[in-house]
């Protein structure tokens, strides 16, 4: 049991590190886009690759960020009925949630491997001359991001199962304030 708890902690820490690191891509996006706008306005110059970089940054922001978002803020849910459930039922639904997210993440990883492989096989780049090369790398954020989500969901599943078997709530040490965000 103790080993499972520390495994969950290790997994959580991985998700947290990646999330905190990629969060800075948001600042990069602000700076790249603002620079593109101002350079064009003041010096009327702009590079196609720099314009493409704007939306390329969205992939890490979204796909590497989503497992971190869920770890820190919990899932968004409708809770007006849920809130009235007895504690054991809430715990069961939580465990089920983590397990289903794990399954969903793995399915999407499996589906997207082919998609990235196609792009890799064609050595796909931007259709625009002067655009960014290696589009397969950009597409690879899909399986990587959902693998990371699987890691986060696995940690959540472990914790839920342990907590169910012990009959007490068990919090992650990474995200001690992580309440399930509810709507």
């Amino acid at each position: 049991m103790g080993a499972l708890v520390s495994l969950a902690d290790v997994l959580d820490r991985l998700v947290e590190r990646v999330g905190r690191a990629t969060a800075w891509a948001n600042l990069a996006l602000v700076l790249v886009m603002a620079a593109n706008v101002l350079l064009r306005y003041v010096f009327t110059t702009g590079a196609v690759w720099a314009q493409e970089l704007e939306w390329h940054l969205m992939s890490p922001i979204i796909l590497l960020g989503m497992s971190y978002a869920i770890q820190q803020e919990g899932h968004v849910r409708v809770d007006f009925v849920f809130a009235k459930f007895p504690h054991w039922l809430k715990a069961v639904i939580d465990a089920l949630t983590h397990a289903l997210v794990l399954a969903m993440a793995l399915i999407i990883v499996w589906l997207s491997l082919d998609y990235v492989g196609q792009s890799f096989g064609n050595n796909e780049g931007s259709p625009d001359p002067g655009g960014l090369p290696m589009r397969w790398l950009l597409k690879a954020f899909i399986p990587v991001g959902f693998s990371l989500l699987a890691v986060q969901a696995l940690a959540g599943t472990l914790r839920s199962l342990i907590s169910l078997s012990l009959g007490t709530p068990l919090q992650s040490e990474i995200a001690p304030h992580a309440q399930e965000e509810a709507i």
Binding site: R40, T44, T45, G46, V48, Q51, E52, D114, Y115, Q118, S119, N122, E124, G125, S126, P127, D128, P129, G130, G131, R135
Partner: protein, 341 residues
């Protein structure tokens, strides 16, 4: 004997409701209707506009894999996957509609296209053509090469590279933002399609100088790609029906553009205060010079591009001779003689 019925999906790189690209005479919707009627309902093609099943530019991979059977788009969208695809939509200063259809149907172009797409598991064909497009909308008149320096223009692809070499600041923008950006002067110029489609986008309300006769898109092939296994599974009569409907739509769509552009240009010039004119000769010389360089560089880099490039321009050289004494003389000497209206 009971015959098999095929129910196929056809995705499209253009959004719901787009005339020419999705609906209207000679459009993909018309193509699907023809196929259904000619086959007596044995081949039913359900069309999905961009965003309905997949996003705009995802059709190539989806058809290649066989998840959907057909996709409508333009070959130059796939330049990032195989550069030579450019030649099967349009290249700057290239063939016009008559020349391109001649090359595809009778000059070996179709065979080269099929060979190029074979590794991707795709069967390509022409299913439409816009005919000649327009250079685009400019907020200020362009009198010389110097006017291009520092000009901010929405333009993509090879033409963008040519403009950039002459000092244009190339801006990529999604369709919906062209109008607000041009109207406020975030960009000084924008290229779209032709009078009918451009008027629909409202570009004439944002810029009044309409430079005509698009050097960068002297015709534009709408591409149908079919998954190879799906194609092979069709009996010979259904294959013939698909090819026939596709070539019928190529003609019908192009003539539809011819008719609607004529009406729209007339309206733009007479009623909307648009100044329509060709680019100055000196500027066109310069654009051609850079295009020459850009295309030879691309051909030198890749043997596959070189093969198609050479075949295309070899055909064009011969066709130019004929066009020079047929079309050119018709346009310059004969066309404008009789006065009936």
């Amino acid at each position: 004997r009971a015959e098999k019925t095929f129910n196929w999906k056809m995705t499209n790189a253009y959004g719901p409701g787009s005339p020419f690209y999705v609906t209207g005479p000679g459009s993909p919707a018309d193509f699907a209707r023809m196929v259904k009627e000619m086959s007596g309902g044995r081949l039913n093609i359900q069309q999905f506009a961009a965003g309905e099943l997949i996003p705009a530019l995802e059709g190539f991979d989806a058809v290649s894999k066989g998840t959907v059977e057909m996709n409508i788009g333009n070959a130059y969208f796939w330049a990032g996957k195989t550069f030579a695809a450019q030649y099967f939509t349009t290249v700057p200063f290239g063939l016009n509609f008559q020349g391109m259809t001649s090359w595809l149907y009778h000059g070996g172009g179709q065979k080269l296209w099929e060979d190029l797409y074979a590794p991707f598991n795709l069967v390509p064909m022409s299913v439409g053509n816009t005919g000649i497009q327009m250079t685009g909308w400019f907020r200020k008149p362009i009198t010389s090469v110097d006017d291009l320096k520092g000009l901010k223009m929405r333009i993509a692809g090879l033409a963008g590279k040519v403009y950039a070499a002459l000092g244009v600041d190339v801006k990529l923008l999604p369709g919906g933002e062209i109008f607000p950006a041009l109207e406020r002067g975030v960009i000084d110029a924008a290229e779209f399609v032709g009078p009918y489609q451009d008027r629909r986008l409202g570009l004439h309300k944002a810029a009044k100088y309409y430079y005509t006769t698009g050097w960068h898109e002297t015709e534009n092939v709408t591409e149908l790609i079919v998954n190879r296994q799906a194609w092979d599974s069709l009996p010979a009569d259904l294959q013939a029906i698909v090819r026939t409907a596709a070539s019928a739509c190529t003609i019908i769509s192009q003539s539809w553009c011819e008719a609607t552009n004529a009406e729209a240009l007339d309206d733009l010039v007479k009623n909307q205060g648009v100044k329509a004119q060709p680019l100055p000769d000196g500027l066109v010389d310069k654009l051609a010079e850079v295009t020459q360089q850009v295309l030879s560089d691309a051909a030198a880099k890749d043997p596959e591009v070189k093969k198609i490039h050479e075949a295309y321009f070899k055909f064009k050289a011969t066709h130019d001779g004929w066009a020079g004494i047929s079309e050119a003389v018709y346009q310059n000497q004969l066309r404008n003689r009789l006065k009936f209206s």
